[in-house]
């Protein structure tokens, strides 16, 4: 049994009457990439802030790197890397000065910081931007700089709160690539995201959160097996065909979902179902066959309604 790096037991966070995090349990092991998945307002960021020792839990037990954040928060923060959701780079300073001041907050020596800055800027491909003001950077560059800043103290555990929200596809892939590399170097990553592809790409294990609770837990593959089917058929029908097809489809599918513009058919063998439906006279306007993704799991667990 590996010693857990972060342990939460019955962890809750309340803001007045509002319960942001509701009695959750989790274990994060050294070297893994652990994801907190959930829609906006599910309690992911509140959980991250508690782990980051900047938000005292309302109740329950939390241990980070073997320490209690409420009494040893300073020590914990000294060994953590934090990549916050919002851009809180120091807009009054240059790229270099941002990293320098952050290193100083960790009480690192200036010479040591300077060496580290060279490595980090190379790591996030911002070496040429050393003396630029951060206002001049694009969204993707700012994000990479925030990641570099979070690594200044060579943390063994890095918390990333929605690391790629708002980035274009190219910038997202660059960030993912850097995070892979960190993982390869043995750094433990805690990632929150509402992007399913991100979770599938990066996370070894994850929990799905909804309204402050953990509603599912496992590896991406396990979750798909448990909460979805192997394949999904997305069929579109002409208006009059739809009602005629429904009873037949329900007979052959594991599960169906009737959406305004298409019908989702969940099954373990799409080819068989497709052939069977054709044989029984079901002729959709179009059919898309694909593998189940974490998104199917996510939507099943947290629903399609907007939570606001």
């Amino acid at each position: 049994m590996v010693e857990s790096l972060v342990v939460g037991r019955g962890l809750s966070k309340k803001f007045g009457d509002f319960t942001a995090v509701d009695n959750i349990d989790f274990d994060i092991h050294p070297g893994e990439a652990f994801g907190f998945l959930g829609p906006n307002g599910a309690g992911k960021s509140s959980t991250m802030r508690m782990i980051g020792a900047v938000s005292p839990p309302t109740s329950g037990r939390l241990s980070v790197l073997g320490m209690d954040p409420s009494t040893e928060g300073i020590k914990i923060r000294g060994r953590l890397g934090v990549v916050p959701q919002e851009d809180n780079l120091d807009r009054e300073l240059s790229v270099y000065e941002n990293l320098l001041t952050h290193g100083r907050y960790f009480h690192m020596k200036r010479a040591e910081i300077d060496v580290r800055i060279v490595d980090l800027l190379e790591f996030v491909q911002l070496t040429e931007r050393l003396d630029d003001r951060v206002d001049l950077l694009s969204g993707g560059m700012k994000r990479r700089l925030i990641i570099a800043r979070g690594l200044i103290n060579q943390p063994e555990l890095v918390i990333l709160d929605e690391p790629t929200t708002g980035l274009d596809p190219q910038a997202r892939h660059v960030v993912w690539d850097r995070l892979y590399q960190l993982k390869r170097d043995g750094v433990t990553l805690i990632i929150t995201t509402h992007y399913m592809d991100e979770a599938e790409q990066l996370c070894d294990r994850l929990v799905v959160m909804d309204r402050g609770r953990i509603v599912a837990e496992g590896s991406p593959r396990e979750l798909i097996e448990r909460y979805s089917t192997r394949d999904v058929l997305e069929m579109r029908f002409a208006a009059d065909q739809h009602r005629h097809a429904m009873p037949i489809i329900e007979e052959v599918a594991e599960r169906t979902e009737d959406l305004p513009d298409r019908l989702m058919i969940y099954t373990h063998n799409a080819d068989e179902v497709s052939a069977e439906l054709a044989r029984r006279g079901v002729h959709p306007v179009s059919t898309l066959i694909r593998r189940s993704t974490l998104e199917d799991v996510f939507l099943r667990l947290t629903g399609r309604q907007l939570i606001e």
Binding site: V54, I74, N88, E97, L100, T101, Y105, G150
Partner: protein, 268 residues
């Protein structure tokens, strides 16, 4: 000064070298925009030249509450010295701190490191005290050049100006912790202007009816003015301890409010 006072705070809110880290950060910023510092310094200088020297020609000699007769410019100058320390402290401890707290989110980033809330509170207060001291020094040099003070007392007056700087830095930061929008900054002007006008800067408090005088004495700037006037005139007595005591007390209350409310805002 704040460092000394901070020794009385409970251990977990006592600052470490962290306060110094924040000052280093501010130095990096001001290295680039040092001209801004000059702007706030000009106001009391204009008053000294306009009111002290200009109006002084017209007014002639005045008599202080202590019964000392002196030129009007020499009377006004220490009051403006106190006002310039207040200006420096308030400019630095309100607008930039609000920006860092709510817009730049600088302090959120700071607290993701081993820095503590007390480091931020004490660091920023020390820093704006420094700006107050810079203004005061500049003003003293000017006073010296136009012959309104002599060197020895001017050095003591810097200590007085540092104390005034501490009081208003702490009070300014404390006020910012209550502010929610930029509009709230109009309130600061609403407080600072009457302080400037009614704190014995331009005339002694004795011109007011006796029932109004205790109200005027609530103003911390009044105590700063009395302190610096005594220093620059070289007339010391025991009442100075009371004036200094009020300034220390207001500053400490400000620091306590700041640490408490800043913690609640940032570590929720």
């Amino acid at each position: 000064m704040s460092l000394l006072l901070a020794g009385w705070l409970p251990p977990q809110s006592r600052p470490t070298r962290g306060a110094g880290r924040l000052i280093q950060r501010n130095l990096l910023v001001y290295k680039r925009i040092w001209l801004v510092i000059i702007a706030g310094f000009c106001e009391p200088v204009f008053y000294l030249l306009g009111v002290g020297v200009g109006l002084g020609e017209f007014v002639g000699e005045v008599t202080t509450e202590g019964g000392v007769s002196l030129s009007y410019a020499a009377f006004v100058a220490p009051g403006l010295l106190a006002a310039s320390a207040m200006n420096g402290a308030i400019i630095e401890s309100t607008f930039p701190i609000f920006f860092k707290l709510h817009y730049n989110r600088t302090y959120d980033a700071v607290l993701s490191t081993p820095m503590r809330v007390a480091d931020i509170a004490v660091g920023e207060i020390l820093w704006s005290q420094l700006r107050a001291a810079i203004y005061a020094c500049g003003f003293l040099v000017l006073m010296y050049i136009v012959g309104l003070t002599d060197t020895l007392w001017a050095v003591v007056a810097i200590l007085g100006a540092l104390l005034v700087g501490f009081t208003f830095s702490a009070a300014g930061f404390a006020a910012v912790t209550f502010m929610r929008t930029w509009h709230d900054f109009d309130m600061i002007q609403l407080v600072i202007l009457p302080l400037f006008l009614f704190s014995g800067t331009f005339y002694p408090l004795s011109v007011y009816p006796s029932f109004l005088q205790p109200i005027m004495q609530i103003s911390p700037l009044y105590h700063g003015t009395e302190l610096l006037r005594a220093f620059t005139l070289g007339s010391f007595d025991w009442t100075l301890l009371a004036h200094a005591g009020v300034l220390v007390a207001v500053g400490l209350v400000g620091l306590a409010i700041t640490s408490r409310r800043l913690g609640r805002t940032l570590l929720k």
